[in-house]
Subunit: 349 residues, 4 copies
């Protein structure tokens, strides 16, 4: 499948926007030809409007693009949204209304009952709700979202266990500083320290997980019938969210069954060999002290979820660790994979 689809990025000059620009570099299907940002930046070259903070240089082809206002007008059919939550609702709806497919990393529409909260390996079927979204909202375009960065890690690890009937999930996160953007966490707060609080994060993990692991039934999205509790902590790590997880399952299974489920897990993105899909979405590590954020998060282009230390839990049934790259699989890479899935489904013409 060879394609050359033009795409744009809303909020392209911010940190998440920069991650989109970097992740899209050399993409086999998508060509970034349009960058939108605030009025303050509009009219400048991307290189002038952007304080580039990522490792590696700014992609040359993008550096010379002129930054546009975040208005539909001449933007490509597909736009990735990295807009700030304070303005995302209005901007994203304007683009959907104007016929664009908005593939959003913002949190604003995630919990809407007619918006898919998509993890392509887990709930590709949720795309079915788009028909209702278009009808109800009267939009020629559409909005799909990806979850919060810590939710993605958790749900990718829980996906293979759905077959065993997930009843209760208790997840304690140790999250990287890059998850807070820039300037983000002051070094005086996090140097040689842990901050046991991230505003709104626990609620997001608890609610989003239930939506993602739920089902699309009778034309509606129905939450997973399970309880989820999250403890969210910030730790002095650059990239990679680590989640210490305990689960209670409906079926009588053993540790080996879980490991087999993790190792054999494949889904639509793998079957269709979507460009950004990892060969194996979940990688089980047998070493006694893995996964570790600094050593593992960047493997597999940052698109896999790493699982380790699967063992029995004296309180719930099993416990294990899950790790994922928060700015790749947890943000820009997630949205791009969502767009790839939609293209492969024929949902974007």
């Amino acid at each position: 499948m060879q394609r050359q689809i033009e795409v744009g990025v809303l909020g392209a000059t911010g940190m998440v926007g920069q991650h989109f620009v970097k992740f899209l570099q050399g993409h086999p299907w998508f060509k970034l030809t349009w960058v939108g940002a605030s009025d303050r930046s509009a009219g400048k070259k991307y290189r002038e409007a952007t304080s580039w903070r990522l490792a590696g240089a700014m992609p040359e082809a993008v550096a010379d693009l002129q930054v546009e206002e975040c208005k539909p007008g001449n933007a490509p059919k597909i736009v990735f949204s990295a807009t700030d939550a304070s303005v995302a609702t209005e901007i994203e709806q304007a683009f959907a209304k104007a016929g664009h497919t908005v593939v959003s990393n913002s949190r604003n529409h995630r919990m809407d009952s007619d918006v898919p909260l998509l993890v392509p390996e887990i709930n590709a079927g949720h795309l079915g709700i788009l028909a209702r979204q278009k009808q109800a909202r009267g939009w020629p375009g559409q909005i799909v979202t990806n979850p919060n960065c810590s939710t993605i890690v958790l749900t990718m690890a829980l996906g293979p266990l759905k077959q065993f009937g997930i009843r209760r999930v208790l997840a304690t996160t140790m999250q990287a500083i890059s998850g807070a953007g820039y300037p983000g966490v002051p070094s005086m707060d996090i140097n040689a320290n842990v901050i046991p609080f991230i505003g709104g994060e626990e609620e997001k993990m608890e609610q989003e997980t239930q939506k993602i692991l739920g089902d699309y039934v009778d034309g509606a999205l129905r939450d997973m019938d399970a309880r989820v509790s999250a403890h969210c902590n910030r730790v002095p790590v650059v990239d990679g969210h680590l989640v210490a997880t305990s689960v209670e399952l409906g079926s009588k299974v053993k540790v080996d069954d879980l490991i087999r489920a993790f190792e054999s897990f494949r889904a639509i993105p793998q079957e269709r060999k979507l460009p950004s899909a990892p060969a194996r979405p979940v990688i089980y590590m047998a070493e006694k002290d893995r996964p570790q954020p600094r050593r593992d998060a960047e493997r597999e282009n940052g698109m896999a979820c790493f699982v380790g230390r699967v063992r029995e839990c004296p309180v719930l049934d099993f416990k294990f660790l899950a790790l994922g790259h928060n700015t790749v699989r947890g943000a820009a890479g997630a949205a791009v994979l969502n767009a790839e899935l939609m293209c492969s489904e024929g949902l974007i013409q």
Copy 2:
């Protein structure tokens, strides 16, 4: 109460031994007059035998003590044991056999059915088992132990909740590097990283917690009838173990009841004003993002347990954070407080 009781430290040149030496400096009851270490060190001055690694200078009075072999002989009646687990069983028993009270930080005898695993605020009554220990072992002396550093933090936070009937506890730790001694954790492993494994730690937390929160009934120690699960992680923090905790309780209570229980908690060490006892064993912090290891662990001379973010848990009943100083309240300070309690009970003549 004015006293001047001579004490010794077994394993005085190692890291835990150094913490004992530092903590005992200026103690109003105990005077450190005897330091024991391996044959290699015996005969040297303490200052020559010891590679001092703690902040602040080595106490002058101790620096000139001659290091002795770890044999009873001329040691004081009370000896604190900071000996390595590989030799602690033999050494500690030799001292007890020779009539000494061994107040140990080593793990070897913690789970013995006739050895108190003591947290003075929580289970002072467990000292009753010493009668059986002396009788069964035929020792003129005795051995008492303090828990693992992460267990102490957890049990101090759970102590005030025992009245509500503890049924299930799920604890995820973020532990400081000082807990691993010296050289301990290689910087290449922990710099900007998390190591989600600490050998033997989860088992210790699960078992020790049940013993400590259990009761001394009919001349025997009976474990708490509750299930405990621990996830143990090392994080790049210098001092202070933070424990994200979820609990299920037998009584119908509310968040405010827990907070009141934490805030009003006082026990024997406070009533008797033992020298190392914190004024309040558990300090509830109302700020939304506390406690934090670097900012809070050293308060109250490192002897209190800090609790915060008490809230409902969608999976068990409540969740909260607990923090304690691992090398003070979790090691040397714990043992010294144990000895103070025993003196106040008249268990050491």
Copy 3:
């Protein structure tokens, strides 16, 4: 000498202001009775106006003070200035004009030819310039300043060498994040990284050092006749600025002469036993790998300069390391010691 002198702090709610509040707690001469801040805070209690970020609790006696506007009015005779550079000129001059002694940590007046840039152990004689300041400016009050935090460390180490004739100084700093205030350095910039640039810092070190080590001659301050070059770097350390220093001297001396000069150095603050003066202003550490910021900066109440690794330099004559606590000796403690010196000189009635 027993005193009870009321003092105030300008800019008391900011980070430097908080350091003043903390440092003054329990001071034997000075009683903090007045706190000034921006209009936004004026009228509130200090505890409500301040987001306290220091380790340990906010001093109770100060918490209940009402924050005042930074205007002379009812402020005490001595005010410490922790005001932001953007407003310090105007505020400090207003107080001096109204008869107050302004002991400032701000940079605004440091390089004025009639303002002492004071390090009490090094250049107490510079106070002589105050007569000219009062005359020239027509102020009943006066302004004295303390140097930049990294300059203090360097000059305290150079002070004992002044007798040998300092000709050239090349200083490379590794500075703690607390030096940048709050929120200060974003963790994404400094976690596991070095930032080899601190705005304005190199210029300050180069100019201030020459003023401080210069002389008060014939009613004027004359710069030291030496060349100074600084390389300033931010490193992921919480407190303590470390300065790798090479010096060229006018006299033929040996390493041992330097060590003796460091060890024997005492000055007016020590002779008069000023309350905040360290017993020894410069402490030479003989260990091969000291001083180190995390292990040494807090010793001696953070008021001493630690020197180590004195050795020959193949390019200039000697090289060594100097370390000091940047928020104590480098800021609040420096200013308080300045005020103590002035009281002891009878310069404040």
Copy 4:
């Protein structure tokens, strides 16, 4: 130039050995077919003998190699030496005596008068001394070495300035923990700290720099006639040595001349397009706060030297920063480039 030259690695199971194994993966000329290690490992598969500590998985092709003793026998013609200094002299000489070309990262022969201490961009001409080495030692083989990791960074930055006549160099390093191998620096020493001492490092930087920047004249290596002084510090950074450098030059030049010299610098490895040679050996960064180890060291495959903040120095003539990747350009990559240069010179048949 297409080649397929078999190579071996001495000391292949250690940290430096692992860096060689990783760096040689997919090399267009060299195929790693032989791994040597201590007797303890010999006979095992590489995957069993090695505790792999690098990011990314162990290369499959190497994992199944059988580890050999470090004796000449069946080893390939070219062997890279990552042997420990305690055994390197004997092992490397045995291989040279048996006709092998030993391309060593060990320090043992670096300062021998008949051994090139090679940085291909700087002193390729030093290979001329090999004729004398072979003659004097009577070896059919030969030994070449690469410098210490911090020396390489410094000399690559000084190379372009040699034309201006280098007279004095004062270099203060901030070195990454990976430079100390594994387990290397204990986290208790370096977490939120600086260790201002690295054993033997300052002497190496001072001596090696003079040899590298010297000339091969009249059949002998003659040291650069300049003075070099190094201050070496360990900082909590994972990879990348940063060197704050001041230089005195013989010619009257300006800052712009230095920048031009850095930017235009190209040498034999670039002309011959050696596989591991960076396109530009020295990359000048114009940003005010670069280079930075975490953001820049890995660029250009870790083979370039990054220079920034070129400015006048009030003590010597100019000051600037230099940064390089210590385990790539400073170790394995350096040796591989040395071997590539020697192949391109026809020095290895």
